[in-house]
């Protein structure tokens, strides 16, 4: 079996489990709607201000629900010691990391596909930009967020209070993603061209590359112990 098919096997395993249990995705979906509702009440969002805060609302909702879901990525594997089983499989450790990233990324994309249209309706936001650019921004933002989160959730799964620890170690690290994603989403939503967000796209790209490459090197150390 090649490296890629090993990864796909691991991905398939996790997706089947999630499809049958529907444990994480349902929570992520509900939470991604619930957070904007809370924000709508607390920010007293009148129609004029919505335009300014809407990108922020989107990304706060997505990161919060993402963290909620990613907490389980490795905790679920700890039950019945299945993480040990996973480590004994004849695959490179990095394959486990990439498989988990793909699983989490798929779940995030699914959450986004369901909640984003709902948010547009809920906040009565008139979309004037290009869908393709928005998809690119969300793709890059989600990728950066997911790759770091997956790595840090593996790290925090080693501790007893991992659910409490993950948000605290994750949020300072993902601040560049949040800034770049919110800024570029804001520009895209009001219908600017891709040229205006070029520097943000570049930043997201650089972040994605760094935080895919570094966990790729370090993941082995996290799992071995």
């Amino acid at each position: 079996m090649g490296y890629l098919s090993k990864i796909l096997n691991l991905v398939w395993k996790d997706l089947v489990i999630e499809f049958r249990a529907k444990e994480i995705l349902s929570v992520m979906l509900i939470f991604a709607i619930l957070v904007p509702i809370i924000l709508a009440f607390s920010l007293n969002s009148a129609q004029e201000t919505t335009e300014n805060i809407f990108p922020g609302i989107i990304w706060v909702a997505l990161t919060f629900s993402g963290i909620l879901g990613f907490n389980r990525t490795f905790l679920n594997e700890k039950q019945n010691d299945s993480l040990l089983g996973l480590m004994l499989t004849p695959v490179d450790r990095t394959a486990i990391y990439f498989a988990k990233v793909i699983v989490n990324f798929t779940m995030m994309i699914f959450t986004e596909a369901v909640t984003l249209p709902l948010l547009f309706i809920l906040f009565d936001f008139r979309f004037r930009g290009s869908i393709l650019t928005l998809v690119l921004v969300i793709f890059l933002g989600t990728l950066g967020f997911t790759s770091v989160s997956t790595f840090l959730s593996a790290l925090s799964a080693n501790t007893r209070a991992s659910e409490i620890l993950l948000p605290i170690i994750l949020f300072p690290i993902i601040i560049p993603v949040i800034i770049a994603a919110v800024q570029s989403t804001g520009i895209v939503l009001v219908g600017a061209s891709i040229g205006e967000i070029a520097s943000w796209i570049k930043l997201l790209g650089v972040y994605d590359v760094i935080f895919m490459a570094v966990p790729f090197i370090l993941f082995e150390y996290i799992l071995e112990v």
């Binding site: 790290l155 501790t159 209070a161 620890l165 605290i168 760094i210 570094v214 370090l218 996290i222 112990v225």
Partner: protein
């Protein structure tokens, strides 16, 4: 052991003398700034603390890499102690900054790249300390903290650029600035402070390592006693 402690005392007194000298340079030798007045004196300690903090976190980064490669416990201890010292100095930066800013900019806080990056830096290394204090086995702890120490340090420049593009407004470019710049006496005072604070860092590092090693020894003695009984 007593020979080692003598080294500590020597470095301690040296640091003490350096700090006194730095205080003289900053408070007496350097002239009072014309516009900002006495408050400007904070600048010397503010910059020196910031230098120390960044230096300490750099040491964490390097020590973490070496620890992952060699698995020598010494590097783990250095990283741990250095992170703690770095957080202390970052706290000093974050406290002294607003005091100065209040009189210079008439605002406690502005969301300016360097300030905001320092704040995020503080949070990153608080997280690092939290990983250290989480309930994990001792051997695992070093590896996890080292991994986070590397990730955290690499994140800092990205954070800085992100925040800079996000909106840059304030912060005097004192040293780099072409026209204005610093009065020579002020510059000397700044150098004296930075050097003295660097000595302070190494003094703290030495003490911290000593405490950690003592703790390990006590653990070992305890285990031996338990085995005997």
């Amino acid at each position: 052991m007593s020979k080692k402690l003598k080294g500590h005392t020597f470095l301690g007194w040296l640091t003490f003398a350096m700090i006194i000298f730095a205080l003289y340079m900053a408070l007496v030798h350097a002239p009072v700034e014309r516009v900002m007045g006495v408050v400007q004196k904070i600048f010397y300690f503010h910059v020196a603390s910031a230098w120390n903090a960044f230096f300490a976190f750099f040491v964490v980064f390097v020590a973490s890499i070496i620890f992952l490669k060699t698995r020598n416990r010494k590097w783990d201890i250095i990283a741990k102690v250095s992170a703690e010292i770095g957080v202390v100095f970052t706290t000093i930066v974050l406290v002294s900054g607003p005091i100065w800013a209040r009189s210079a900019w008439n605002r406690w806080w502005v969301w300016e790249p360097r300030l905001t990056t320092t704040l995020i830096l503080w949070f990153i290394y608080l997280a690092y300390i939290l990983i250290r204090s989480a309930s994990i086995e001792e051997d695992k702890k070093g590896v996890l903290a080292a991994a986070f120490g590397i990730i955290g340090f690499l994140d800092v420049p990205v954070v800085f650029f992100a925040i800079r593009w996000w909106g840059s407004l304030y912060h005097p470019e004192v040293v780099k600035g072409s026209g204005g710049g610093l009065h020579p006496a002020m510059f000397q005072a700044l150098i004296a402070c930075v050097v003295a604070f660097t000595f302070l860092y190494f003094y703290f590092l030495q003490k911290g390592i000593f405490i950690e090693l003592s703790r390990l020894r006590i653990e070992k003695i305890k285990e031996e006693l338990r085995a005997e009984n």
